[in-house]
């Protein structure tokens, strides 16, 4: 499959341009738009995200304008009052500022929702979760593996209660947020705090593993893609000076040292200048009980559960977050593609054979650009080609379509006539049927 750079080359050929009218950077921008639009309009990509209960946010903000600066998720923890002039912490402050004679006692105020686990008294808030930036719509939500129904604000209004802070129970409904985009609310809040995983040494660089907060009962192993050492060696430089030249693969040195005399040794007593080395040394990983920890952690494996990468299409970087579905929210949602930032960027969400439609989308725009390269006929043609790709992608997620006779469900049960061939309306009739 040609790379994105090759796709840009091909687009320039079709434009019959040598970067005089159209720059490569401009073409990449349109390819990025195509990638984003294809994934968003067709909703072919879906994934899971886990979220701790109570929700955690990157930052707590006081004023609305703080949303526009910084990055990450946020929670506004104050009450806006007096036409944005005042931000209040407690309800009684609003009453006081409004000139009410006898303000009430108010409720607990917290800046981060996890603080509710340690607060007492009534709470005038609900849980608002922020979704990943590339979210395109929620499909299902579970709490502790229990399905939560979606609800509309209209139905909640009909209860004639202060539904916006329903507390003291397990979560039972979720509402597409009344707040900003990429967020949703959960009602029926459980204030007990559950943290799913700590990613070890996260504050000191890249994750090398994770552990379960509170109890560490689960077994896991980092899945680094390199399952075993390729060879063992005794001293530095040995792999590079082998009789047959440098050895390929990743090796494990089975010695300690060198000590002050420049010697390598296999047991602690041999090199008594290094009293902190106490373990016996094996020549392979399993002998010494040392986990193979090479490279960056990308996923985990376990015999008791499945670790599912929530960003399975992210091919660069390392693990930055780990969550689990026990005592937490599990969200199944549509996602769309992240931006293409350069010709070296991959498009992992899109199967390679479908990448051609990105090119057609870009060509439909480039041929339509006012100026010397303007050609509405070709633009229209490529637009149709791209639209065909969109249509195919829409059907792409419905992977049961070829197996409909076996689909379980009311509409498919019982004896049915076999379907007739489906042909377009303009397909010519057979001559003998005239």
């Amino acid at each position: 499959m040609p790379s994105l750079a090759a796709l840009v080359d091909d687009i320039l050929l079709r434009l019959q341009d040598d970067e005089t009218l159209f720059t490569r950077a401009e073409i990449v921008r349109w390819l990025s738009e195509a990638y984003r639009q294809m994934s968003h309009r067709t909703r072919f990509a879906k994934t899971f995200s886990t979220m701790d209960m109570p929700p955690r946010h990157t930052r707590a903000i006081t004023f609305n304008w703080e949303r526009n600066i910084g990055s990450g998720s946020w929670r506004k923890w104050t009450f806006t009052n007096q036409n944005d002039h005042t931000e209040c912490t407690f309800l009684w402050e609003v009453q006081q500022a409004g000139g009410m004679d006898s303000p009430g006692s108010g409720t607990v105020a917290v800046s981060n929702l996890w603080e509710l686990a340690y607060a007492s008294g009534s709470v005038d808030t609900h849980y608002r979760f922020m979704l990943p930036k590339q979210d395109a719509g929620i499909i299902h939500v579970w709490h502790d593996h229990d399905f939560i129904s979606s609800v509309t604000a209209k139905i909640l209004d009909s209860t004639e209660t202060a539904w916006w802070y329903i507390g003291g129970s397990e979560p039972y409904v979720w509402l597409r947020s009344l707040g900003d985009a990429h967020s949703f609310d959960v009602y029926g809040i459980d204030t007990e705090y559950f943290q799913s995983f700590d990613v070890s040494t996260m504050d000191m660089g890249n994750a090398r593993g994770w552990f379960e907060a509170g109890e560490n009962t689960d077994t896991y192993a980092p899945d680094s893609g390199i399952a075993s050492w390729a060879y063992a060696y005794a001293w530095d430089g040995e792999p590079e000076s082998g009789a047959s030249g440098a050895i390929s693969g990743v090796g494990k040195r089975f010695t300690f040292g060198p000590n002050e005399d420049g010697n390598y040794y296999t047991h602690d007593w041999e090199g008594d200048t290094h009293p902190y080395l106490e373990a016996a040394v094996g020549t392979t990983g399993f002998e010494s009980g040392v986990d193979l920890e090479i490279g960056l952690m990308r996923s985990g494996v376990s015999s008791s559960r499945q670790y599912w990468p929530s960003h399975q299409w992210q091919t660069t970087g390392t693990l930055r977050q780990a969550g689990k579905s026990e005592n937490a929210l599990l969200v199944y949602h549509d996602v769309y593609a992240a931006d293409i930032t350069g010709e070296e960027t991959e498009t992992p969400m899109l199967p390679d054979p479908l990448r051609k439609y990105l090119g057609y989308y870009a060509l439909s725009i480039l041929f339509n650009r006012q100026g010397e390269g303007y050609d509405p006929a070709l633009a229209g043609h490529y637009e149709l080609r791209a639209a065909r790709g969109f249509k195919f992608l829409q059907a792409f997620g419905m992977i049961q379509r070829a197996d409909q006779h076996f689909v379980r469900g009311g509409g498919q049960r019982g004896t049915r006539e076999p379907p007739l061939p489906q042909l377009p309306a303009d397909y010519p009739r057979a001559p003998w049927l005239r």
């Binding site: 051609k356 992977i399 042909l423």
Partner: protein, 220 residues
Amino acid sequence: MNRQELRERILYRLNEDITSPTFYTETIANNAIQEAMEIIAEEIATLRQQALIVAKPGRHWFTTYEVSDVCMTPIRVWSHGTGQRLLPITMPQLEQHYSHWITVTADRPQWWYPLSHDAFGIWPGTVEGGTVLRVDFLAWPETLAADSDEPIIDEVTQDLVILYGEYDGLIRQWEFERAMDLFTRFAQHYLDTKFRSETRRFQHIHMNRVMAGYNMGNQL
């Protein structure tokens, strides 16, 4: 026809030198051949393959990348060890069946369901020991790596590849009207191919019904 023969026919129709084309290079022609096969695979969906995958203990979900690099979409899943076909189901139906369905594991998976364009799940999930799944899937055409490689599609359909290559050459030359004529013919042809495929499928289903009725009649 192999790739070289296909390419030569395309170049001949474009009035290019077969051995050393100038405007429409061999690389572009090869890419057009590949693209035509992909489009035919998308539109007609007749390329089918089969693969076995290991479902390790505790697993519910799988990606198509685990099945095969050329896996377009799975269409049938079997539990290979038990020889039992898993029935397709949707996630809402699983919810209706049991609200805690995600937590269920068992020796024998019963159903499979789509998760994303490149992922699917089985229910119940696997237990200690795991299992092997057999996945039938619609496939993308393999990349033709050498001139002697032959496309997996039948020779009647290979004519469409030549037609597409000619269209591709003309649209690159901005010969819009002629290119559109060819593209319309290409689309019409793959509809014919689709018609053939659907007819075969219909005949197959129809004959099965006839045979089933015949057998049932005998029993009655």
